[in-house]
């Protein structure tokens, strides 16, 4: 801390406020960045970048000086704290004080300091991690030394030139000016920002692109104008102004973001644009939001009631005191002491003073420790949820994360689940299933068989397989690290990159991320018919190429096939890597290949570059590669690649070549795609020997059978966006030398863009057939994509290009212009074919859905997928039942209101209430837009409620969140949203509980969520078991708290009748103040943390028990009052038994009050005992500890100081009491008399009207085999589709069945079998 503030002072001479002031007039809409080295001599004031934040980060909230005031200020935001401090301060007013003021402050100070210490510790951890990050080093150009020197991250300023090396973390947002990569590229990994593990390419700013020699910062004299810092990771606009006056546009492709890692690029140089807190990564970093659970909201109502009770009690006492005073008239009795000044108070005045005194005396009624205890219990609950083995996913080595600490009990009260489909219900492992090309369907039966085999495979085997899939991935991490070790061994300071938590997290994501490369997705068995055709086609093409015949002579169906596969291969953004040395090898291979391409393949305008490169290959091999990985591996690697070089030279076509060499090659290449479907398609193409070998920004190298490696000059990539729902690449085809557009996209869009069928009958037929197959695929639950192409003439291309370039360089509205440009290009397409990709269901999804539904949860699926696919998946995961009637709402016409259907369908549903639950509702996005309209939402909800399942397809992220919000607000239900992708974030944030699926599609959903699960099926245990437990534990604990405090305070209240309502307390103030904090605190914490009403097995097997939490059965409003009444009864017993036992005796105030305290403690503990369902040794220990603590403290306190502790002065009281038989007799009878009604009620309830949960507990007690019998029976019965509204119907049947067969001695747990 101290160091921190020192640094602070040293670093930033100008205080932030001053900086802010100066900034204001200067800053307009843009930020101008100059190079720092130009202004190095002009320190401070002159530097044009001085207004920008430096790279030092400070995420701490406090400094040494500000900690106390700031923390106190924050704590006083909680109303309860203000209240308790107010009461403690009230004690300092002499007229009203009840306790010693210092003592009264103790609990408040204790509570405040516990929270403060917690905050301090958290802040210290933040400070440490900040310091670690601030002290990481990087190379910054120094003008004085004319070279790059190592500096700490915090010393980096905007306008500095920094040099980045491979595997280094980026210290700030940097504009890429130079890269050692020959193509002026820089690869970065953005896993820390968006969780995507694929590498992304970043380009050097265009004006520095053609720089031949190494970038020299001293020669740089341009000015950069860009937008102000913002948190949009996917946007960066600006331009660079050179001294010559030339302007070049800057894109997000030029910006390297803080927190990313440089990969596969030896060195890069850039200029810092945003630093420290102004970087996009930091601006995106907002803390978790605060949710308040339903239980807590309910509790707050009752706290409010407690306040009312308190005020009533105080008022009563005040009036009583006034009357008591009044009865003596002017004759003041000796025991009515005058005020210290000797004045005589009027009855009214003393009543008013007394009112305040009573607030102090009765303050315990508002439990100061309740809030702290709840926090502690919740933290313990979170700990246990974390530790649950069943929620641990071995495959990805990840377990459930609780990101929100304060809503664990909400898990037990959920009523609606909103689930995403892709990646949540399904694995998001896209597997190529079948395709249709040129109107012919290839069913890929062998492939289907292979997939079926995976499904049947044991989970154990599957684990092995996926481990196999993981290995190369992990190895790539390792090789990075070993490379780094070699690289860094020269540098003086070892690089501590692994220190930060973010880094550790990134590594774990990286290592566990296997989704895109499991063998299931990679090893696709080709359809023999299609394979033959491909071979046939390519050999023909080879022949034609050899004989220099124009390619257009190829039969159109064959050319379609080859085009189809070329499109699959290149129309994507897949990056190729090999496990040992990603990217570099690929480059090497390509350049090596290119050498012999040069003779055979079509000339490209970049040939000179390639030859130049080739000449560099060998020196590069020696200069570059050894740096990256151990020499042995490199030699090994070169050797391995030589045969593949020869293979191309050899006359034998590679497909007939020895399988071994092919496999070797195949094993080397791995594809990293932004979305799993892309990877699936590339793998599918590879199965047909049409493999993607390398990808450069302007070049795609594809290896085709017979034809060898072809390089397609990549002219444009029009990336995928959700509006267009397609992507395109524009390439120059190396064989035909034509400019070709390959487009891939959703069938609905592509079909509309197909060239009008009047051009040819054949095309018409293809479109027709393809549409037919597409429908079939959709019916199978496959994801469909259409592939199309378009050939552009040079003139058309030139015309389009001109406008496209204009769009690219535009600064204002660039996105819109690019979008329009893409629309212009993607017209009049020629349909090649379509693919069907299977999105596999996750393990256990149908079972989980079934049991969640039995638990009374409504499950809605909200997906962006199209209707057919979604419906099929819904059937597959048992969300929809074949017996159900499907109510499908689609609108095609904007004027048509779909709710006309509703009005007609609802009367029928009223007449036959049972049928209602057999309805499934399917609604698509366009219709949903109407349904969510203010005027229709009530109708929509009415219909949706009467349906058993609801499926919303084609919904946008915004619609998802609107649906959740609608249901939550209108139906007043508890909602849970579960999803895995960025499109689910808004819905996750809106729901009462947001759950993210970790490890599939990135981290955004997880970051936004309250709980992150590795798999969907874990939701079952999380809700049914942990949710149930957390809810019932907390609900019982809160009720107990209210009871406990009311009971304790009521004792003092009764006493007021016997002390003239003077506010006197027979309980020593020490006991009074520490009773809650120490003596009775531990047992309830233990019970609140560990108590299990029903075992985990039973809860999972009888999901019906979840209804308990949904209906808030453990904590109903009337229960608060019942507890209050019980508390008053118990306090009456605890007060009046000692009262009568000591009536008219010579007992003194505290010798009488101490037994009452003891009795109250015993009663309170025994009460907890009757409410505790499971007694572990910890429960016993905690109760024993509480009692021991009380007596120890009492004995020590009563023996410590004969003349202190005014006014009670309890010297030797407890010691004397322990010698009196009367004390023990009281301790024996009072708790029993106090708890008799409750105990009796519980026993009667257990026999006469047991709650379902109690039945579950009785079930727990049965011997294992009988239990299994019953449960299996119940599963059959409960599984019937009519059940959600009558969840216990089946349980009733179960018990009557049991009656018929056994004589169940309920409760004793013994079953006497008497057939």
């Amino acid at each position: 801390m101290a160091r921190h503030s020192e640094e602070d002072a040293g670093m930033a001479k100008a205080p932030p406020a001053a900086r802010q002031r100066k900034k204001k007039p200067k800053e307009n809409k843009t930020r101008t960045v100059h190079a720092n080295i130009l202004h190095d001599c002009a320190k401070g004031e002159e530097n044009p970048n001085r207004h920008y934040a430096n790279n030092k980060i400070k995420t701490t909230k406090y400094t040494v000086l500000s900690f106390l005031p700031k923390n106190l200020f924050e704590q006083f935001h909680r109303f309860a704290n203000v209240y308790f401090v107010f009461i403690a301060l009230l004690n300092f007013v002499p007229v009203v004080n009840a306790f010693q003021p210092e003592l009264a402050l103790a609990p408040v100070v204790f509570i405040l300091s516990v929270t403060a210490i917690k905050d301090l510790w958290e802040d210290y951890r933040r400070h440490r991690s900040d310091k670690e990050i601030n002290h990481m080093d990087c190379l910054v150009y120094s003008r004085a030394e004319r070279r790059y020197v190592e500096k700490y991250w915090k010393e980096v300023r905007v306008g500095d030139f920094i040099r980045l090396r491979c595997n280094e973390l980026l210290p700030a947002d940097v504009l890429l000016l130079s890269s050692s990569d020959p193509d002026r590229l820089c690869h970065i990994e953005t896993a820390t920002l968006d969780g995507e593990t694929n590498l992304k390419q970043r380009q050097v700013v265009r004006s520095f692109y053609d720089l031949d020699c190494e970038f020299d910062p001293l020669k740089y004299n341009s000015i950069i104008e860009c937008e102000k810092p913002n948190n949009d990771l996917n946007r960066f606009r600006g331009y660079i102004i050179h001294r010559s006056g030339r302007r070049d546009a800057l894109y997000k492709e030029n910006l390297l973001l803080r927190g990313c890692t440089i990969r596969n690029t030896e060195e890069a140089v850039g200029i810092v644009i945003y630093a420290g807190h102004e970087t996009k990564a930091m601006l995106n970093n907002n803390g978790p939001r605060y949710k308040r659970s339903k239980l807590e909201r309910q509790m707050n109502v009752d706290v409010f009631w407690c306040v009312i009770i308190l005020l009533v009690m105080c008022l009563f006492a005040a009036v009583g005191h006034g009357l008591w005073m009044f009865q003596y008239g002017d004759n003041r009795p000796v025991f009515d002491v005058l005020s210290p000044e000797g004045t005589n108070l009027s009855p009214i005045m003393s009543a008013i003073y007394l009112f305040l005194t009573m607030i102090i005396v009765f303050q315990v009624l508002i439990p100061i420790s309740l809030f702290v205890s709840i926090e502690i219990v919740k933290i313990c609950q979170v700990y246990f949820i974390h530790q649950d083995m069943d929620l641990y996913d071995e495959e990805t080595d990840s377990h459930l994360q609780c990101r929100a600490l304060n809503i664990t009990e909400d898990l037990g009260q959920m009523q609606y689940i909103f689930s995403d489909k892709t990646g949540t219900l399904t694995e998001n492992k896209m597997v190529f299933r079948r395709c249709t090309v040129a109107g012919v369907e290839y069913s890929h039966d062998a492939n289907a068989r292979r997939l079926a085999m995976y499904q049947e495979m044991d989970s154990e085997e599957e684990e092995c397989m996926s481990h196999g899939g993981t290995l190369p991935r992990r190895d790539s991490v390792t090789s990075h690290q070993s490379a780094r070790v070699v690289l860094r061994s020269q540098s003086t300071k070892s690089h501590r990159r692994t220190g930060s938590r973010a880094e550790a997290k990134r590594a774990s994501i990286l290592s566990k991320h296997t989704a895109f490369s499991s063998p299931m997705e990679k090893d696709i068995t080709p359809d023999p018919k299609l394979l033959d055709k491909v071979n046939d086609c390519s050999s023909q093409m080879d022949f034609m190429r050899f004989h220099s015949q124009p390619m257009s002579q190829l039969p159109s169906d064959l050319s379609d096939i080859i085009d189809f596969f070329i499109a699959l291969t290149i129309c994507n953004t897949v990056v190729v890597s090999s496990p040992n040395q990603p990217r570099h090898k690929v480059t090497l291979t390509c350049s090596g290949q290119k050498h012999q391409f040069g003779q055979t393949s079509v000339r490209s305008k970049r040939d000179h570059l390639w030859t130049g490169l080739h000449n560099d290959v060998l020196p590069q091999l020696h200069s570059r590669l050894p740096l990256k990985s151990p020499v042995k591996t490199i030699e090994d690697f070169i050797k391995r690649f030589t045969p593949s070089l020869e293979q191309v030279f050899s006359p034998i076509p590679p497909s007939y070549d020895g399988k071994a060499s092919w496999n070797l090659e195949e094993g080397e290449l791995r594809y990293e795609a932004e979305s799993p479907d892309e990877a699936a398609l590339v793998y599918a193409a590879r199965a047909y020997k049409c493999s993607l070998v390398g990808r450069l920004p302007d070049q795609v190298i594809v290896e085709l059978p017979h034809l060898g490696k072809l390089s397609f000059e990549l002219l444009h990539t029009l990336g995928f966006d959700s509006t267009r729902k397609r992507m395109s690449v524009v390439v120059r085809h190396p064989l035909t030398d034509q400019i070709t557009v390959y487009t891939k996209g959703a069938d609905s869009v592509i079909m509309d863009l197909i060239k009008p069928p009047d051009t040819g009958k054949r095309q018409k037929k293809i479109v027709c057939r393809t549409q037919h197959y597409l429908n079939l695929y959709a019916a199978d639950g496959l994801r469909t994509l259409c592939i199309a192409k378009k050939i552009l003439s040079k003139e058309e291309y030139a015309c389009w290009l001109q406008r496209h370039l204009a769009a690219e360089t535009a600064i204002q509205g660039r996105e819109e212009l690019l979008f329009e440009s893409a629309l212009r290009l993607e017209t009049n397409l020629h349909l090649l074919g379509a693919t069907g990709i299977e999105d596999r269901l996750q393990d256990g999804v149908p079972e989980t859905i079934a049991s969640l539904r039995k638990a009374g949860l409504q499950i809605w699926v909200l997906t962006g997928d199209k209707q057919e696919t979604a419906v099929n998946i819904a059937y597959a995961c048992k969300l929809l039942d074949p017996e159900e009637e499907l109510l499908t709402l689609n609108t095609f016409n904007t004027n048509f209101s779909p709710f006309d259907i509703y009005s007609s369908s609802s009367p029928s549903s009223q007449s036959t209430p049972f049928l209602v639950h057999r309805l499934g509702l399917v609604i698509d996005g366009r219709t949903l837009a109407y349904a969510l309209d203010k005027s229709l939402e009530d109708k929509f909800l009415a219909v949706a409620r009467s349906c058993r399942s609801v499926l919303c397809c084609r919904s946008t992220p915004l619609q998802k969140s609107m649906v959740v919000k609608l249901v939550r607000n209108k139906l007043k239900v508890m909602t849970l949203a579960i999803g895995d992708g960025a499109n689910d974030v808004s819905m996750i944030q809106v729901a009462d509980v947001g759950v993210g699926i970790s490890g599939q599609e990135g981290m955004q959903a997880v970051m936004a969520s309250d709980f992150a699960l590795p798999r969907f099926r874990y939701l079952q245990k999380l809700l049914l078991v942990h949710g149930h437990w957390c809810y019932s534990r907390l609900a019982n604990m809160i009720l107990y708290f209210f009871y406990k405090n009311a009971m304790f305070v009521a004792l003092i209240f009764w006493y007021q009748f016997y002390c003239g309502f003077s506010g006197s307390a027979m309980i020593d103030q020490w006991y009074l103040i520490f009773f809650n904090l120490m003596f009775s605190a531990f047992p309830q914490l233990i019970t609140g943390t560990l108590d299990k009403d029903v075992s985990a097995e039973t809860l999972q097997q009888l999901p019906q028990l979840y209804v308990n939490g949904q209906n808030s059965e453990e904590y109903k409003p009337y229960m608060f009052w019942m507890n209050m009444i019980d508390a008053f009864y118990q306090s009456l017993v605890c007060f009046f038994i000692p009262y009568f036992a000591y009536a008219d005796s010579d007992v003194d105030l505290f010798t009488w009050g101490t037994p009452i305290t003891t009795l109250a403690l015993f009663t309170i503990l025994l009460h907890l005992g009757t409410e505790t369902k499971t007694w572990t040794w910890m429960n016993w220990m905690s109760i024993a500890f509480s009692i021991a603590l009380f007596f120890t403290v009492a004995l020590c306190y009563n023996a410590s100081c004969p003349a202190c502790y005014s006014p009670s002065n309890p010297y030797w009281t407890m010691q004397r009491l322990l010698q009196e038989p009367l004390f023990y007799l009281l301790c024996f009878i009072t708790p029993i008399a106090a708890l008799l009604p409750r105990f009796f009620y519980r026993a009667c309830q257990g026999t006469l009207f047991p709650s379902p949960v109690q039945l579950g507990r009785q079930l727990d007690k049965l011997p294992a085999d009988i239990r299994r019998n019953i449960l299996s029976l119940s599963r059959v019965k409960v599984g019937s589709p009519l059940c959600p509204k009558l969840p216990f119907l089946s349980l009733a049947k179960l018990w009557s069945w049991l009656d018929a067969h056994f004589l169940l001695v309920a409760g004793s747990g013994n079953i006497e079998v008497c057939f």
Binding site: Y328, V334, F335, V337, P340, T357, D388, Y392, E394, S398, L471, R474, D475, V477, R496, T498, R501, A504, S511, Y1058, G1060, S1064, M1066, L1090, K1092, I1137, F1140, A1141, A1143, D1144, D1146, V1147, D1148, L1149, W1177, N1209, Y1211, L1222, L1225, I1232, A1233, F1239, A1243, C1244, G1246, T1247, P1250, R1257, Q1258, D1260, F1288, L1291, A1292, S1296, D1299, L1304, A1306, G1307, S1308, G1309
Partner: protein, 368 residues
């Protein structure tokens, strides 16, 4: 070969990644311990009629005998009580009570004859009892200075502000200060046995041993130690307003004078309830076989100093023997018997419930 090297590297890589971060991250798999998996062995009682039946009967069976025992014990205690407040015109103390207030210095004596029907065998405890006297009033209870009573010289000269407004008179500190001391009970009670032959024999009343041992020896001390001349020590202080004598003249016995006067100590132990008694004297049992107080006529002679009429209080003199469980109080025995019977009765109810519904309850109820 390849595979093995992979896994080795894998291991290394993992350590370097997670090592500095937390050390425990190596494998995130939770430990399979009973505690962490919430599978601690536990006793799980289920409260039903059947299970709690025995408890009710056992409680009943234990409580009823205890109750009877306590009741009998309490009944064996002999107690005699005389109200000498003097409200009544027939009361011998009527005159004293009428004229009396705190300011009177002249004492008024009243003589009350009474008769004991039974002989009191063991030690007899003599109490004075006050009713309607709120010694537990919040401001009253606080109005004392324990430090002064513990013999602290500084506190003697400068009483705590808790004693206000009874801390000082004319800038002279009051010793002992405070409202409790100020309102000390100052009636003198004397007992005479009227022999059948007509002579009146004074009964020896022991005035020591009536306070707690710790109070007399630890909590209360005279300033300046035991041997000091009390008159000198209390020089410079004044007596409480309502007192007739200063504190160092409470008794002639130096061991029972000043702050360690046992009557004073007993008074300073504030009573819990507005009706209370305080031990006044002990009548020691003689060695011989004669009862401590034989049957017969007695006379109680009261120096009537303490006014209670203003708050409608009452004054009593109580003679009582005690048992192991204290004074005469039948309540606890009755309470035990009652609770025991109720438990027994509820046990029977539960038995009926258990027999009637215990077996069939579940199905019968749920199907409703």
């Amino acid at each position: 070969m390849m595979a093995s090297s992979y896994s080795a590297k894998d291991e290394d890589g993992h350590i370097t990644v997670s090592g500095p971060g937390g050390g425990t991250l190596r494998n995130k798999k939770p430990e399979n311990t009973a505690f962490k998996q919430q599978r601690l062995p536990a006793w799980q009682p289920i409260l039903t009629a059947g299970t709690v039946l025995p408890a009710f009967f056992i409680i009943g069976l234990i409580f009823i005998p205890i109750g009877i025992g306590l009741y009998v014990t309490s009944n064996n205690i002999k107690e005699f009580e005389i109200d000498y407040t003097g409200d009544d015109t027939s009361s011998p103390c009527y005159n004293c009570a009428q004229n009396f207030s705190w300011n009177n210095t002249k004492s008024c004596t009243c003589i009350i004859p009474f008769q004991l029907d039974q002989p009191y065998e063991s030690n007899v405890f003599m109490y004075y009892g006050l009713s309607n006297f709120y010694q537990n009033h919040r401001r009253y209870v606080k109005s004392r200075d324990d430090s002064q009573l513990n013999g602290n010289i500084d506190s003697l000269k400068k009483p705590s502000k808790e004693c206000e407004p009874y801390a000082s008179v004319d800038n002279k500190p009051i010793a002992p200060c405070g409202a409790i001391a100020n309102s000390m009970f100052n009636d003198t009670l004397k007992l005479f046995y009227n022999d059948p032959n007509g002579t009146s024999v004074p009964i020896l009343l022991t005035s020591t041993g009536i306070a707690w041992w710790t109070d007399k020896h630890v909590k209360f001390r005279n300033p300046g130690g035991n041997n000091a001349n009390l008159t000198a020590v209390f020089q410079g202080t004044v007596k409480p307003v309502n007192w007739h004598r200063p504190v160092y003249e409470l008794d002639t016995d130096p061991e029972n004078n000043g702050f360690i006067n046992e009557d004073f100590i007993v008074w300073m132990r504030t009573a819990a309830l507005p009706t209370f008694r305080k031990l006044y004297r002990i009548i020691q049992k003689n060695n011989n076989m004669a009862p401590t107080l034989p049957r017969g006529n007695y006379t109680l002679v009261v120096d009537y100093n303490y006014p209670v009429r203003s708050f409608e209080g009452r004054k009593r003199m109580i003679l009582s023997t005690i048992s192991w469980m204290g004074g005469k109080n039948p309540f606890l025995g009755i309470a035990y018997i009652t609770v025991g019977s109720v438990c027994f009765f509820l046990g029977v109810v539960l038995l009926v419930i258990h027999h009637k519904y215990g077996n069939r309850n579940n199905s019968a109820n749920i199907s409703n």
